[in-house]
Symmetry: C2
Subunit: 344 residues, 2 copies
């Protein structure tokens, strides 16, 4: 940094909320990243890019992982990296054909710990039936003590049957989810805070490509899919209402939630709708195919608690509304910043 | 880290040399990464993976960038990231079709500095005729003060005419390089040390895909290509002699070297053969096509100082030998660790 530079006001620097999957992050991406690098593919701001390749199409995606702690109940940074990238490909209609692995490791990091995380990467990749095909390793000085950052990128063949996108969504479509909300974020937070229910809470990190592949093969009319990571379900639903221009009506009674996760979230003061998941996909499907979708999803371990949780409505302005357990209504807003930092 | 853990001997932890592109890094990759994750594609340990895709093949590669300082004469971390990934695809015979961009940014990082680096990424991508098609952004706490790490992954369509690999190399083949050795590493080091010739030394970071594409289109018999980044030319030549099983004879008189870079390297005590480049490709080509290759390369700005610098020989054991300016011979060894840390 230039030592002669004057101190700058806070809005001229990166702050934590720029990484949280909410409004601040949206502005960073649109006003800085897309404005510098924008092109038709990047501007779509989907979970992955669809590219023409060898006469057909591929999907490409990337994610970096900076989670703390590196190991937590139900997973670790390595499992997270594989699942996150596989899921981003799958929700775009891609069949993963290869992942890359970029490791940034601090000096002093223990090799036995690295081996545990590498074994976890190998296990998650086997679960997802995908291979790590190329990689890169960098070593940095030990200053932070964080130990390890991981980037995974992924490539998939596009299932050419898939017709997915915000523009496919119609009023009356059903909203589905494949299980409990917020288990990942709350598991991480409970470890950090040393909460006593630490042992019963587990991250949901899991590869969803087998379940999603079955849905696509079955020919059900899926309009849109997205994994509800940073920003949680609320973030995905806000994107849908913004980009599709329709409202969403959610039923609180229908939301699958683990009672321990729910209790922990209440104690910690978090709204499970805004908490990150790592093994949850939100689907928008034709109402007539909703039950069939739920049946197919429930055949998979990753979808046992699948449920229809709401529907698309032609409201103006397009709002996301939650019908509460008590029959009231509240507006679900896009999370502003980062409710839980370093969650993925 | 577990506070109860006993202190471990040094060989149980990551040290800086694990990231240097030399012997230590080779052992980290083979004994830990490949042993956990290995498969036929990864085990090839080439600059990128060749994968079947949509009935033909693609190339996939990844690199993380942790260079310090982030901005330096001739480039910055953004330009480096684009060039490095494009070049890894090109040396595998790939025509790049898309790059991903993963940013890990520290809180407090200035947005105007981020904008400069994003503009540099955009400029390098235009030079390489490739787009950033997907990305990810994470924010971490400001502890280190490093500011920014970048990962780029890339995908390319494989030029199916290319027949590249260690197994294609034969005694008698010519060794070519597209210009001066070590400009990148020495430029970085001179900035760090505040050397007075700082202003005349510039990184060579440049995308080489146009030049390499012309070579492939021309039908010349290229056996093998690799960009000589970490570990420098010595690292690439050591890989060739190990994997192809032949010796290499280099002519010191033929090596293109900038006089300022050479003077700085001598002052700093570095061997230019082992210093990182970011715009240099080493080629092994059929002897009969060597002059034609050099002519094609010299038509490009990135290849003006291309030269034939040596040949493959059937020596036993397979050694890399340098015929010095004075007619003597010395063995060129694989660099052990990291001569210049955080160079890319």
């Amino acid at each position: 940094m230039n030592p002669a530079a004057k101190p700058q006001p806070n809005d001229d620097v990166i702050v934590r909320a720029h990484g949280g999957g909410g409004e601040m992050m949206g502005r960073l991406i649109s006003d800085h990243i897309v404005s510098a690098l924008g092109n038709q593919t990047l501007n779509a701001l989907t979970d992955g890019a669809v590219l023409p390749c060898n006469g057909k199409h591929i999907v490409m995606t990337t994610d970096s992982y900076v989670v703390q702690p590196l190991e937590f109940p139900g997973g670790d940074i390595g499992r997270l990296a594989v699942c996150g990238t596989v899921n981003d490909l799958a929700v775009m209609g891609g069949r993963p054909i290869g992942l890359s692995l970029g490791l940034i490791i601090e000096e002093g990091f223990r090799l036995d710990r690295l081996d545990r995380i590498l074994d976890s990467i190998a296990k998650a990749a086997r679960e997802a039936s995908v291979e790590i095909v190329t990689g890169d390793t960098k070593v940095i000085e030990n200053v932070r003590g964080d130990g390890l950052f991981i980037n995974t990128a992924g490539v998939a063949e596009l299932d050419e049957r898939a017709r997915l996108g915000f523009d496919q969504i119609r009023p009356g479509d059903a909203i589905l989810i494949n299980g409990n909300l917020g288990d990942h974020g709350i598991a991480i937070m409970s470890v950090r805070d040393g909460l006593e229910f630490e042992t019963t809470l587990r991250s949901d990190a899991a590869p969803l490509n087998a379940m999603i592949g079955d849905l696509l093969s079955s020919g059900v009319a899926i309009r849109f899919m997205r994994d509800a990571t940073r920003g949680g379900l609320a973030g995905v639903l806000a994107d849908i209402s913004d980009r599709a221009g329709f409202g969403i009506e959610l039923s609180e009674l229908a939301l699958p939630r683990d009672p321990h996760t729910r209790a922990a979230a209440e104690m910690l003061g978090f709204d499970l709708l805004a908490v990150a998941n790592e093994g949850k996909v939100l689907l928008v499907v034709a109402d007539s195919d909703a039950e069939r979708c739920v049946d197919i999803m429930r055949e998979h371990d990753t979808g046992r608690r699948s449920a229809r949780i709401g529907r698309v409505v032609a409201s103006n302005p397009p709002l996301v509304e939650l019908v509460t357990e008590h029959g009231g209504r509240r507006i679900v807003q896009r999370p502003y910043g980062e409710e839980l930092p370093r969650i993925c």
